[in-house]
């Protein structure tokens, strides 16, 4: 008797599982409308949530072929580029730096090499920079880059190999050191090496590093995207952290591009191109400023949003490093300066 009852229980379990499977397969197959996939870097989650809603409303009001949604994928800029190279079906990439989109253009045939000339402002609809986020009252008295190499200061930055923000951090520090030590390369290397030895943990992406600093309470100073620092202030309250603007920093230009190979295969070119052009419209520029990124055309943004951006001395990657095509292999390639100077576990 018991034997039979046990058999029945198992038979029922498997029948139930089979029904569930059928239901899920059917439910999963139902959605098939025009959908875009935006593969982006880590801190833009909140920005694109707002931009996507605005763009879809605008597009669907004007076009008979509706867009049902824009899917988002976020992660370290370098790892996201890698995923697109490995076949992640992105309609558009919106990454942290041109070098990562260059990598897609070099390793696949999905993107022409001159992608950055196809949209205004180096294909970057907004800019940002690198600032210091410190704990309220600045207990360690961090004022500038020179303070980061003092003994006992813990610096939080993600891993430049995977994170775009971390590469901007690294280059901003390098630019400071070149200026401070009058281009004496040995001293610059010594400075960077000391700075890296003050980094207790390298997260793979910007948001993970933000969490390390803000929620896990590790570190004295966090080298952060300006937008990410403002967001942390907004999330946790201005009574917990403050932003320090260093004497010199870098002008970060996070670029966007349509992935030609993918949109042509999916038939979404018109939508994808309109989506990126939308980022330059007054409406999008206002949303961009509201989300703490520096708009290219500040006249369209709320003056209050623009006023919060501190004046800073910003150098560009082109003038100091000769562009990403040169900076990427020199500093972050296999055996580059980062590999030479970073010695974990000290």
């Amino acid at each position: 008797m018991h034997q039979l009852a046990g058999n029945k229980v198992i038979a029922k379990l498997f029948t139930g599982a089979a029904f569930l499977l059928c239901f899920l397969v059917i439910a999963g197959g139902v959605r098939a409308q025009t959908e875009l996939l935006n593969v982006s870097y880590d801190p833009t989650r909140e920005l694109y949530r707002e931009l996507n809603a605005a763009f879809i409303a605008e597009w669907n009001a004007a076009n008979p072929k509706k867009i049902s949604g824009i899917r988002q994928s976020h992660g370290g800029s370098g790892s996201q580029a890698r995923a697109v190279i490995d076949g992640l079906n992105a309609d558009v990439v919106t990454l942290a730096l041109a070098g990562d989109i260059d990598a897609i253009a070099q390793r696949t045939t999905k993107l022409p090499k001159d992608w950055q000339t196809r949209l205004p402002h180096n294909a970057s609809p907004y800019t940002s920079t690198i600032v210091f986020l410190v704990r309220k009252g600045n207990p360690k008295g961090v004022k500038d880059w020179s303070d980061l190499v003092k003994p006992g200061i813990e610096v939080i930055t993600p891993n430049p190999k995977t994170s775009g923000g971390a590469r901007w951090n690294y280059l901003a520090a390098w630019a400071y050191a070149e200026k401070a030590f009058n281009k004496d390369e040995a001293k610059v290397r010594d400075y960077i090496s000391k700075l890296l030895s003050n980094v207790p943990v390298l997260d793979t992406a910007a948001r993970g590093a933000t969490t390390t600093f803000t929620q896990r309470g590790i570190g004295d100073v966090f080298l952060s995207w300006e937008n990410e620092a403002f967001l942390a202030l907004a999330e946790f309250g201005a009574d917990k952290f403050e932003i320090i603007v260093p004497s010199i920093s870098i002008l970060a230009e996070p670029p966007v591009a349509v992935v030609d190979g993918n949109v042509d295969a999916k038939g979404t070119r018109a939508e994808a191109e309109a989506y990126l052009r939308f980022l330059y419209t007054p409406r999008a520029q206002a949303i961009i400023a509201k989300n703490h990124y520096r708009p290219r055309e500040p006249q369209h943004a709320d003056p209050k949003d623009v006023a919060k951006f501190p004046k800073a001395t910003l150098v560009t990657i082109d003038e100091v490093f000769g562009g990403w095509a040169k900076a990427q292999p020199t500093h972050f390639g296999d055996g580059g300066t980062f590999d030479q100077l970073y010695k974990p576990g000290r």
């Binding site: 198992i10 379990l13 490995d86 390793r107 696949t108 948001r207």
Partner: protein, 298 residues
């Protein structure tokens, strides 16, 4: 607190009333300390984190909890997780039984190789498992150009997630079945075959009923891992919100977006799954205790 009550229970036994203490070779103090350490460890590293998951999930009340789960992206993560489990488990059941059957009931050359292969996923890091599939099926991978010409997307889509999950969950059922089948021996099957039953009928009427309890345990374990796997799935998922994020990935995404209530709400579902699995196992053991003893022959 529990230490005190333990001490009260343990002490009378531990007193020198006879030779039991001597025979066990340990004093009451040692036992109390050992049990106390064990319970303390369980409380600190299992009960407390579990409680925190639910506390955080309900930190802003039932409404926020429901909103966190009812979000379309969360729902689609739940649906994807269930779908992945519903595909992986039947496959693992069939392959696991076949593998265990071959290993336990037959002698053949290369058997030890097969056993090592079955164990392989246990010893390989899930991240490697994921990367292997990217290298194989990715656009730059060995089969990438062929798959592209056929219009098939494996990596960064459901098939890739299923493959990665299959890889990490494969050993659970076979590993549960092999020792049991070996302990059972071939006598029942030989009797059935001698009495004229076909091999297929012997399998259905003799072998399967004998192993059903270990099979069910294997399925429960396999299910828990299939739904909870993070590393291997993270590599092949592409992290497209609402499309290729399973529940564990979605928990991380939500947490990183400062939506801790929603993150823990989804996490609490995963924790509930673990509790339900445990409850189902306990219930079955209790309900069919005599039968389990009979087939297990402990």
């Amino acid at each position: 607190m529990s230490d005190a009550s333990l001490a009260a229970d343990a002490l009378p036994v531990g007193r020198p009333t006879g030779h039991r203490t001597v025979a066990r070779g340990e004093s009451a103090v040692v036992r109390v300390v050992l049990i106390g350490v064990g319970l303390g460890f369980l409380a600190l590293f299992l009960a407390l984190p579990l409680a925190i998951v639910f506390l955080e999930a309900f930190a802003r009340g039932w409404g926020a909890y429901r909103a966190g789960i009812a979000d379309p992206d969360s729902l689609s993560a739940i649906q994807l997780t269930l779908l992945v489990a519903a595909i992986t488990i039947p496959i693992n059941v069939v392959v696991g039984i076949a593998g265990a059957w071959a290993v336990a009931k037959h002698e053949f050359r290369g058997k030890s190789v097969l056993v090592s292969l079955i164990d392989l996923p246990f010893s390989v890091s899930p991240v490697i498992a994921g990367l292997v599939y990217v290298l194989l099926f990715g656009a730059q991978g060995y089969l990438g150009p062929f798959l592209k010409s056929q219009g098939l997307q494996i990596i960064f889509a459901l098939p890739g997630i299923v493959l990665a999950t299959l890889f990490v969950t494969f050993p659970f059922i076979a590993r549960e079945l092999i020792p049991h089948m070996q302990a059972l021996g071939n006598a029942d099957e030989e009797a059935a075959l001698t009495l004229g039953a076909s091999p297929w009928r012997t399998f259905l009427m003799v072998t399967l009923p004998n192993i059903k309890w270990s099979l069910l345990y294997g399925v429960l374990l396999c299910n828990a891992r299939a739904m909870g796997e993070f590393g291997a799935v993270a590599v092949v998922s592409g992290k497209i919100r609402g499309l290729t994020t399973t529940m564990p990935l979605h928990v991380e995404i939500l947490y990183n977006e400062y939506m801790s209530v929603a993150a823990f709400a989804v996490a609490s579902l995963l924790a509930l799954l673990a509790l339900v699995t445990l409850a189902a196992k306990t219930f079955l053991e209790w309900r069919y205790a005599d039968e389990i003893v009979a087939t297990r022959r402990h």
